[in-house]
Symmetry: C2
Subunit: 160 residues, 2 copies
DNA sequence: TATTGTTATACTCTATAACTATA
DNA sequence: TATAGTTATAGAGTATAACAATA
């Protein structure tokens, strides 16, 4: 038997129920990421690690500070993620020949081999949450998100 | 002087750069929430706390377990958030008269008074990130996000 | 037995800020 | 001085799972 329903809705509400995108965004992002995290678990990789691997996959190697810029994270955060990937033998750190301060991150063969498998999981996860969208909606969602990232990147180069 | 650009882009890439919504979503959500968190800081409230306050604002009171369902969180998570709101005198816990196991959460007068101010901050934050969207894009984004929440809610009633 | 809420525990994610070693 | 990366610290945000009280 459900509880006595003693809590009445209040009206009028002085704040709009709509126009609160942060909330919806957070809800969706959290849940989509959580579901994805479960899928990645079997492979021993976290969502943040996957994001790094994905960036590294498209290039031979990448400087941590550039990675930070691309992912919108601090250098400290990248250090930690890189630590973990290296510990798992999925990535390597190589000192830069021309600048002793700098270094370069790259996927190992193992890491490289893993990416397509993880990408499949990502696709499955995307499908699970976004399959019901029309092609038009889907592409608009994607474009809108990318635009925001782009605009953000222009405005706030890594905070740090 | 920037570093030697020794990391060439790899081609062809075997995973698509597109079709990876989790990533874009996470990026945007993290950054929008982070910016919002900074705004809320002055008021001594976190983003998750704000989400709870917002739910409570529309009703007289609400059972924690229902709140968990609405926000897509576990009961344990709600307990912690409620603890904090109560500690800040923004909300109260009241035992349910008809069921000694149950209780009810409600905003205090102070909490209630704070909500519109926080809502203004939320609106400002929304504007900062989404103002460049056309009305059509904006409403589609909102609808798409809400739809996903709705569908999720139907499918996976609180995991727990 | 099932349900409500709490507690204990554990992690991920991320930031800030100070620090080291170069440049 | 400025830059690249690391480290130490901290806190938010969640989950899982076991538990207590009540139904």
């Amino acid at each position: 038997m459900p509880r006595t329903e003693s809590c009445a809705p209040k009206s009028p509400s002085f704040i709009s129920r709509d126009g609160y995108l942060v909330g919806w965004l957070r809800y969706v992002s959290n849940h989509v990421s959580q579901a994805f995290a479960r899928k990645l678990e079997d492979r021993g990789v976290t969502v943040a690690e996957w994001a790094v691997m994905r960036e590294l996959y498209g290039v031979d190697c990448l400087a941590p500070s550039r990675l930070a810029g691309q992912l919108g994270l601090t250098r400290g955060a990248i250090t930690k993620l890189a630590d973990r990937l290296v510990a798992k033998s999925l990535a390597t750190r190589t000192p830069d020949a021309s600048d002793a301060r700098a270094q370069t991150l790259a996927l190992t063969a193992q890491g490289r081999g893993l990416v397509p498998k993880l990408a499949t999981l990502a696709d499955e996860n995307d499908a699970k949450f976004f399959a019901h969208l029309s092609a038009k909606e889907r592409s608009m969602l994607e474009r809108v998100l990318k635009d925001i990232v782009r605009i953000r990147n222009l405005k706030s180069i890594p905070v740090d």
